[in-house]
Symmetry: C2
Subunit: 113 residues, 2 copies
Amino acid sequence: MDALSPSLSQEVNQLHADICSALADPTRILLLYTLSEGPRTVNELTVEFGAPQPTISRHLKTLRERGLVIATRKGQMVEYSLADKRLIQALDLLRAVLRDGVLRRAIVVQEVD
Amino acid sequence: MDALSPSLSQEVNQLHADICSALADPTRILLLYTLSEGPRTVNELTVEFGAPQPTISRHLKTLRERGLVIATRKGQMVEYSLADKRLIQALDLLRAVLRDGVLRRAIVVQEVD
DNA sequence: TCATAATATGCGCTTATCCGAATAAGTTTA
DNA sequence: TAAACTTATTCGGATAAGCGCATATTATGA
């Protein structure tokens, strides 16, 4: 247990980073925000995003593998839902950080009267 | 402005994802947690992490470019500090999500009385 | 200015990620 | 079982991220 502690926390840190890398894509962020409004089937998401179905499925797989979304079979379709509402809280915090700091430097904001 | 709106929000989403991808590395997560305790010079971080100095510098650059940390020259050294405490709140939320959901599936937890 | 200390960057390499296109796999109804 | 529908996976090529190593930059002090 003495020897396990460091490698365990290393492993936890890696999993922590893995969650972040699941968030590191604009489409996946939008998927999470969409699912925060309620469960959706793959087809509904495909239509809503106007993206190829394999693309949506692959993004959902990334999120599912890391436990951020939950897949439930409903007949021949699969319904996806958000695994934890705190994901949205975290994303909102990061967006606030963006607004208050990074945004100003990255985009030329045109001040209108 | 009608035509700019979608591309602007796309750009914001990309920046949002960029912040997340800055978090998508165990070393950078530890750097942020360390800086949340107070500012550190590159050398202090290098010693504390036991990692090569160029590695630390490159990670800090990644964080700095995205506005997550702030660099201040102090004589011949550069002091880094956390740009926004909400980053830690967000990381803590994600770690809580990890604890409550993913961890159980990823690591064999040995239940000891 | 020269030497030294602290930090940053460039280069070559390996590894990971993303996308499109095609295809496979599971489910329902006939 | 066959056909239709929904979802998942695989492959190949392009792009980006990571690391170790060497070196460049900036600042201090003699």
